[in-house]
């Protein structure tokens, strides 16, 4: 009779997966993907943003499968993303054309087009609402009807209003430098390895898919004192933007020849940061720069923190870690940080044996030195 390998690993994994499934379903409740998608919108948005994959349905499915774990849900979507062929790039989105649902400025009370508060928890008192324990469809229906009836009737507008950017107003006044449009193709960090120093397009991509908590923490650290950026939120806008693609074999740049493939919800932040720059005569003068943040879905805190970090990284000469691009950009990805932290659970028998050997040898040497 031959010896056979003990299949302990295979059996253990099988048992563990069964147990996991048991824990998920044992209470006898099932949550519909549709329910997650429509009632957990913030969670769905966060997952889409960190995964850099825009699909509310798949994000909701991932949340269901991950039992609500952010890191697991993002991981599932990221892994799914890498099986998808990426054949086209979208055309540039101009957020001037955003179908606005919310838009505020902390810099000016009266911004051209006006402030639009929209739906926000900002001014909702954070008191647990025990009515939600027994929420009913009938009550909700009633509420909805009252809500709709109370809405002012708007005549069909012939023309869509475009809300100008707050910055364009300041730029016209000469308070912001005007830059030439940079139409260089952006780097796609998911298809190309990044090299330091990094281009801004790659930096923004890493920041926007960064872990919400990590981006917020580093932005906060910078704001609190470990950074040299003191921004004012020029504008936060949230709404829908259309996505178009252009087929590479067609040479026409006519917008009519582009394909509309859908719309996404987007949060965009422009922070105004005063900086000292040299004017054309070499004299120091104060002017503003923009820190930019943009995230899938409604992700305002993250987008603001992103705009701070964007501006920090524009000034690498400052000696705070929040201005060090390797420090910031290499440590905020959720899949990378959670993966490496959790890999410590893997066995390290061989490496530990090797370490033991090294330490014992040193001790032996020391003992023999002392004996002599």
């Amino acid at each position: 009779m031959a010896y056979v390998a003990v299949k302990g690993g295979t059996k253990a994994i099988e048992a563990s997966l069964n147990l996991l499934n048991y824990e998920r379903i044992k209470a006898g409740k099932i949550i519909e993907v549709e329910t997650i998608m429509t009632t957990m919108r913030s969670l769905v948005d966060q997952v889409m943003s960190e995964s850099s994959l825009y699909s509310p349905f798949l994000a909701a499915l991932a949340i269901k499968q991950a039992e609500g774990s952010m890191e697991e849900a993002v991981f599932l979507l990221r892994a799914h993303r890498s099986t998808m062929p990426r054949l086209y790039h979208s055309e540039v989105i101009d957020t001037k054309d955003m179908f606005m649902e919310r838009r505020i400025s902390a810099s000016f009370k009266d911004i051209p087009g006006g402030q639009v508060l929209g739906a926000t928890t900002d001014y909702k008192h954070r008191l647990l609402d025990f009515d939600l324990v027994d929420e009913s469809f009938i009550e909700n229906e009633k509420w909805l009807n009252t809500f709709k009836e109370a809405l002012p009737v708007i005549e069909n507008e012939k023309q869509l209003i475009h809300y100008p950017k707050v910055v364009s107003y300041l730029r016209a006044e000469g308070l912001f430098p005007t830059y030439e449009l940079n139409n260089k193709n952006p780097i796609d960090i998911t298809k190309e390895n990044i090299q330091f120093p990094i281009e801004r397009s790659a930096r923004l991509q890493i920041l926007t898919r960064g872990q919400t908590g990590a981006v917020t923490s580093l932005g906060y650290a910078s704001l609190r004192g470990y950074g040299a950026i003191h921004p004012t939120v020029g504008e936060v806008r949230y709404g829908k933007v259309p996505i178009h693609v252009h087929v590479p074999t067609e040479t026409s740049t006519d917008i009519e020849d582009q394909y509309y493939i859908g719309e996404i919800n987007l949060t965009e932040v422009e922070s105004f940061v005063p900086i000292t720059a040299k004017d054309k005569d070499g004299v120091d003068e104060l002017q503003f720069e923009i820190g930019y943040g943009a995230c899938f879905g409604k992700n305002e805190t993250k987008a603001i923190a992103m705009s701070i970090l964007d501006q920090c990284l524009e000034h690498p000469e400052v000696a705070f870690p929040t201005h060090d691009e390797e420090y910031v950009l290499l440590h905020i990805d959720t899949v990378e940080s959670t993966g490496f932290i959790s890999h410590l659970k893997l066995p390290h028998y061989v490496t530990f044996q090797s370490k033991l050997d090294a330490i014992r040898n040193v001790k032996k040497e020391k003992a023999s030195d002392e004996a002599n």
Binding site: F196, E336, T351, N361, E365
Partner: protein, 287 residues
């Protein structure tokens, strides 16, 4: 909503990128070729670099062996095998000599590898100079300028402090007399297997997004001084409690009854094969 899965998990574009990087890695031995590094369904830090290389290599006729710290049955090795098998349908084996692709974490098998095999090592930290210089931008410059004084200085400091070098696993090597390379956390015992190897050796770091290689018949020397030679882990006078093997990398165990320290082959499939050869010798071949 069901989706059909791709062969070997990735879409073809992802494989192409990994393949091009791997070819460059072979052409520039020991140089860390940057690559985009896709997410895979196992955790970053759990062998994703190795897995990506394996998935870019594997075809219908391949036979795969996966080991984790010497063991074919370690849960993570099993998990990686399951993933590759479920997306490709290829056969798996424990037997080193039967495999065409061997993915390994932190060991090179005891059975010498052949020309027909490729070994893929999982790498947590591909940069051998990281402990000396934290910035990737700067370590890249050090490699470009072939400035390895920091690596040498680190060994020298160990000798000054402890009377010998105290590196454990992942002792740096110099490849083709040019690049200092992290051999991945294999024990020093395995470093020599990299030198003039018959098999192609590929190394993948998923989280750090690097692929590098040691082609066959390439010089790989462990960093050491003339008067302080490179020393491997010492198992002198110790043998495997199961198969009696000497001169292999051993795991240290405590016998629960006698409370004595015992040793056992770390390479479990090697041990098993020896045990089976022994029984065949004793009782003859079963028909």
């Amino acid at each position: 909503m069901k989706l059909t899965k791709h062969f070997a998990y990735f879409d073809e574009g992802a494989k192409k990128e990994i393949r091009r990087a791997t070819l460059k890695a072979v052409a520039i031995p020991g140089y860390q070729v940057p690559f985009a590094s896709r997410e895979v369904p196992i955790g970053r830090g759990w062998g994703t670099g190795g897995l990506q290389i394996t998935l870019s290599l594997i075809g219908k006729k391949d036979v795969l062996k996966v080991i984790d710290q010497g063991s074919d049955e370690s849960v993570n090795a099993v998990s990686i095998k399951k993933l590759v098998q479920s997306t490709t349908g290829v056969g798996c084996t424990d037997q080193t000599s039967a495999a065409t692709i061997i993915q390994s974490r932190h060991r090179i098998p005891e059975v010498p590898l052949t020309k027909e095999q490729v070994i893929v090592l999982q790498v947590p930290e591909p940069e051998p100079l990281r402990s000396i210089e934290k910035s990737e931008h700067k370590t890249k410059t050090l490699h470009a300028e072939e400035d390895y004084s920091g690596a040498w200085l680190q060994l020298f400091e160990q000798i000054m402090m402890f009377g010998r070098t105290t590196t454990n696993a992942n002792h740096p090597v110099i490849v083709n007399d040019r690049y200092v390379m992290a051999p991945s956390p294999i024990p020093r015992f395995d470093n020599e297997k990299l030198h003039q190897s018959e098999a192609l050796i590929l190394l993948g770091a998923g989280r750090e997004k690097k692929i590098y290689a040691v082609p066959p018949y390439t010089s790989v020397r462990s960093l050491a001084f003339d008067d302080y030679a490179f020393l491997v882990e010492n198992f002198k006078g110790k043998t495997c409690r199961l198969c009696g093997a000497e001169d292999v990398f051993l795991d240290e165990l405590v016998n629960e009854t006698t409370k004595e320290t015992e040793y056992q082959c770390n390479d479990t499939s090697y041990c098993l094969e020896r045990l089976n050869n022994e029984t065949t010798e004793e009782v003859g071949e079963y028909v």
